[in-house]
């Protein structure tokens, strides 16, 4: 009997080095002669720079160099556009990407103006204080709705308005559907997603070896291969002269997939200029100001229904805050536009958005990547519809679910991967049933809630659903090699930020080769080991890289069987791979271990057959034709204290379907961590810019991420509807936990405070904001 590895809750290979302080993070890189960088950053959101005086900074002892835009010469050029606009008819997209150092005008607080390189970080920060910048302040564009006003100040003066993009997508004919409807509901909704706040800030270390002509860069990036290619192009080097290592990374969640940040363009350049290693490590304040955010959208939504509650059509217009630049294209608003449709059969859809430039940090994906915004709009509109039509909120969802026999289901619009938004597979009613069972919906609504309400307690229940497009292309690759020691090496281009890749990927290889998971050494995110790939984003690691690793391991398995069949003189189908050996089924003593076979596959003398490849090694790639759609239901029971407006969570349930599960232990961890971020987003975290574009929440004292006191125990259950789009049948799961928590809170809080008759149309809430909403509701009634 061969051991199964796929699907097992195996504890992680990467833990021991992390637990003993032996794992290498970027700031742990110490090199002889290393210099340290600090940045002079803009104090203003919008201002012309009149003069920069770095004289005193340059004279400070210990300072090696101070650079402004003028000192960069021909190296100064804006960053790349990472994601091009979608092939949608009539699409408008104005590319304006970030610059390495500001030349003439600052466009957000925290934008880098000058770079100091010194013998220590302490001296570098002293010298930053020596730099004098003379600004001519300009009025800041902060409010989304005012950004497109005719008198709004222009952030990019070569454009005639602050419009970053304009996209319209349609399915069917909304206006015709509306004319047939019994009931039409319109609302304005606001959703703000905030910042990722990974515990590790960003950082870059670069070393130029002038004699080897080799640049080595350690970077907290989720996309090491594209960073290498981008740096080579910028620096005039061959790609093979640049090695980018994304070592252990202390949380990614999206902003670390953004490329290239100004610091990523500058640190390697400075190392080459100065001939010494250069390190820059972001501090938390910089992280709030100068690592990308996700932030807000304002939606004007309209839903048209029959009196029974069936959706006939949905129309939505929204404004999306792009921030000062738009290097990540339209991934976030496209996700909002597409994910809004959820698990529902919406025959007619008209969605239009405008992305606007504002004087704030630019927006790129953060775990969920705009999906939250769309899910919030649809789920809230269904709640309102259920209330107005007198239908149970779970019943209206069930009524509109795409039935299992309608897959693949075509939504007839274009998704973030520019492929049609076609759901590959799904089975939604069992998800809802399971969630209702686990939360105890019937019992709570019929017995517990009336009993507690009679005691004067404000308890409420919430149930929401979501779809998540995951595992998008273009591709990832991997190389699998059996060493002569019998150990297995695996290399892939994606980086890792805590997702357990060293274990789940090893399980895929172990499954094929019959080798213990702990005998598999995995390298991720080092371009010297594998230099093809795009990165870790869009819940795609286990789907895209996972299937590439599976394919490479299967190819090695094939080589092993063929070779062993010759060696042992038995048919391939009579062989099995167990415990690091290939052996004859039923004759365990007739075996050859994989290390020996690997040595035979790499002869040092003699002749081989023509066309023979050395070693037990294979490289494979996987690129899905389109993303795999995961789905889920979250349910909550919570209590509100009407005196303080504080919320206490009594029970939280997630029922999730991400196809075949590789490692349930790791998967549940991903889901729970996502929910914790969702709870922060729903009730604690908010990025606040004042009317001058000053960031008021630039520390963990002001931006509150949940602690163990705010995040409850979370019950997680899985249903498995395999994806037909990849051999493993997997779908992505990294973002799922975080997506529907906002509307879940809104629904459950309304239920808990039913006598206030609240209609919550905004996220995040907070005790303060909820208290205000309660006061307003009281004043209305």
């Amino acid at each position: 009997m061969t051991t199964r590895y796929f699907g097992q809750p195996i504890i992680r290979n990467e833990d021991p080095v992390l637990l003993t302080g032996q794992a290498l993070f970027t700031d742990d890189v110490h090199l002889p002669g290393m210099l340290h960088v600090a940045f002079k950053r803009s104090d203003y959101a919008h201002a012309r720079i009149r003069r920069i005086d770095v004289t005193a900074a340059r004279q400070r002892p210990g300072v090696v160099a101070v650079y402004t835009a003028a000192d960069l010469g021909a190296y100064w050029k804006p960053g790349p556009l990472l994601v091009s606009p979608p092939p949608v008819k009539g699409a408008v997209f104005n590319t304006r990407t970030q610059v390495p150092l500001v030349r003439d005008k600052v466009r957000h607080v925290g934008e880098p103006i000058a770079m100091v390189v010194a013998e220590s970080r302490y001296v570098a920060e002293d010298a930053v204080e020596d730099i004098l910048v003379e600004y001519e302040p300009l009025p800041a564009v902060v409010d989304l709705e005012k950004a497109l006003a005719p008198d709004a100040p222009l952030i990019h003066e070569d454009l005639d308005q602050n419009l970053a993009a304009h996209i319209i997508q349609r399915k069917g004919n909304y206006e015709a559907a509306r004319a047939q409807a019994d009931h039409v509901i319109s609302r304005r909704l606001y959703y703000d997603h905030g910042v990722a706040a990974a515990l590790e800030n960003r950082g870059v270390v670069a070393q130029w070896d002038a004699k080897m002509r080799q640049l080595t860069v350690w970077d907290t990036t989720q996309a090491p291969v594209p960073i290498r290619n981008g740096l080579a192009a910028r620096l005039g080097l061959s790609e093979s002269q640049v090695r980018v290592i994304a070592p252990f990374i202390g949380g990614g969640f999206g902003p670390k997939i953004m490329m290239m940040y100004p610091e990523e363009m500058l640190i390697p350049w400075a190392a080459m200029q100065l001939g010494r290693p250069v390190k820059w490590i972001e501090d938390r304040r910089e992280n709030f100001m100068a690592t990308t955010h996700e932030r807000d959208q304002i939606h004007w939504a309209e839903i048209a229904l029959t009196k029974e509650g069936r959706i006939l059509g949905f129309k939505d217009f929204f404004l999306h805050d792009s921030g000062a630049y738009d290097p990540y294209g339209l991934t976030v608003p496209l996700n909002s536009q597409c994910t809004l449709l959820g698990l529902y059969d919406v025959p007619n859809y008209e969605s239009e958005f405008k992305a606007v430039f504002t004087n704030k940090m630019y927006v790129t994906p953060y775990r969920g990547a705009g999906r939250q915004h769309g899910v919030f709009v649809m789920e809230r509109m269904l709640d309102i519809a259920a209330k107005e039509l007198g239908i149970d909120r779970t019943a209206i969802r069930r009524l509109n679910f795409i039935p299992p026999d309608r897959f693949p289901y075509n939504n007839e619009i274009i998704y973030q991967d520019f492929a049609p938004l076609v759901y590959d597979s799904g089975n939604y009613e069992p998800l809802l049933d399971k969630a209702l069972e686990l939360i105890g919906y019937e019992q709570f609504v019929k017995e517990e809630q009336p009993r507690l309400r009679a005691q004067g307690r404000h308890v409420g229940i919430g149930v929401v659903t979501y779809a998540e497009g995951t595992g998008i292309g273009p591709y990832e690759g991997a190389r699998v090699q059996v060493e002569t020691t019998g150990k297995v090496n695996v290399a892939t281009g994606v980086g890792t930020q805590g997702q357990g890749h060293f274990t789940s990927y090893a399980q895929l290889v172990a499954e094929q080769l019959g080798v213990d998971v702990r005998q598999i050494r995995l390298v991720t995110g080092d371009t010297a080991e594998f230099h093809w790939g795009t990165g870790t984003f869009a819940s795609r690691g286990s789907v895209v890289a996972g299937n590439a690793i599976h394919a490479a391991a299967a190819a090695v398995r094939k080589k092993i069987l063929k070779m062993a069949s010759d060696e042992l003189e038995v048919a391939e189908e009579d062989l099995e791979l167990v415990d690091g050996k290939v052996r004859v089924k039923g004759v365990p003593e007739a075996a050859i271990d994989l290390g020996t076979l690997a040595a035979k596959a790499n002869p040092l003398r003699g002749a081989v057959k023509p066309g023979t490849e050395p070693g037990l090694e294979a490289t494979a790639y996987f690129g899905p034709e389109r993303g795999a759609t995961a789905s889920g239901v979250h349910a909550i029971i919570l209590e509100v204290d009407p005196e303080t407006a504080m919320v206490t969570i009594h029970k939280y349930v997630v029922v999730h379907d991400c196809g075949k599960v590789i490692n349930p232990l790791i998967l549940d961890g991903q889901i729970r961590g996502g929910v914790a971020q969702g709870i922060g987003n729903a009730f604690y975290e908010k990025v606040i810019y004042d009317q001058n574009g000053q960031l008021l929440t630039a520390s963990f004292m002001d931006y509150l991420i949940p602690t163990a006191m705010e995040v409850p125990s979370i019950a997680v259950a899985h249903l498995e509807t395999p994806s037909p789009l990849n051999p493993l049948g997997t779908k992505g799961a990294g973002e799922a936990g975080a997506i529907p928590v906002g509307p879940l809170f809104a629904q459950a809080i309304e239920d808990a405070l039913s006598e206030y008759n609240l209609e919550i149309l905004e996220i995040p809430l907070s005790p303060n904001r909820l208290f205000e909403l309660m006061q307003e509701a009281r004043a209305r009634s």
Partner: protein, 179 residues
């Protein structure tokens, strides 16, 4: 230039003598002078707890202290629990078995906050555990498996069986590997 001062600090049982600027943070001293990089820095304003170490046995934020304040004192960092991936301290082992970490960046701070706690609480309640870790931020796990890890660690350290914890690890406790 600032005058430097000589200091003598015991870290993980080893005595270090160095001359440092008075403004040098203890966290930077440990990480960049002594190269004990297991102590991580997440916020440098005392909120996240990633830089927590033991100072004469009590958990403190090393980013809120100067190295000179540690003169004559005994410190312990995560490397003092065990710096050998093949031989984990029971508290580290419990985090491993309970999947109490993901990216692992906050983990050393949790471990150092928890060491005195598990030593003084042989059978802690969930409420006690959550309160004990409420000064440490984790952005990955949602805390649930950290709570489970603490229960397991307390059981390990007090010699109680931990069978009731229903841990899902497939393998027997790992004796090595590393990534």
């Amino acid at each position: 230039m600032t005058t430097s001062l000589p200091i003598r600090v015991t870290v993980n049982g080893r005595v270090y003598e160095r001359t440092v600027e008075p403004r040098l943070l203890l966290s930077d001293f440990l990480r960049h002078e002594l190269e004990l990089t297991g102590t991580h820095v997440g916020c440098e304003h005392g909120v996240c707890g990633a830089c927590t170490i033991l100072f004469d046995g009590a958990p403190v934020r090393s980013c809120l202290l100067f190295a000179v304040q540690a003169h004559g004192h005994e410190l312990m960092t995560v490397e003092g629990l065990s710096s050998d991936p093949n031989h984990l301290h029971p508290l580290q082992q419990a985090f491993h078995e309970a999947h109490g970490l993901q990216c692992g960046f906050c983990t050393p701070g949790f471990l150092m906050t928890l060491l005195p706690f598990v030593q003084s609480h042989p059978d802690p309640t969930e409420e006690q555990i959550r309160l004990a870790i409420s000064g440490n931020l984790c952005r990955c796990t949602g805390y649930e498996n950290i709570v489970a890890a603490v229960k397991l660690a307390a059981a390990k350290l007090s010699g109680r069986p931990a069978a009731h914890l229903a841990l899902t690890g497939h393998h027997a406790p790992s004796q090595g590997g590393g990534a």
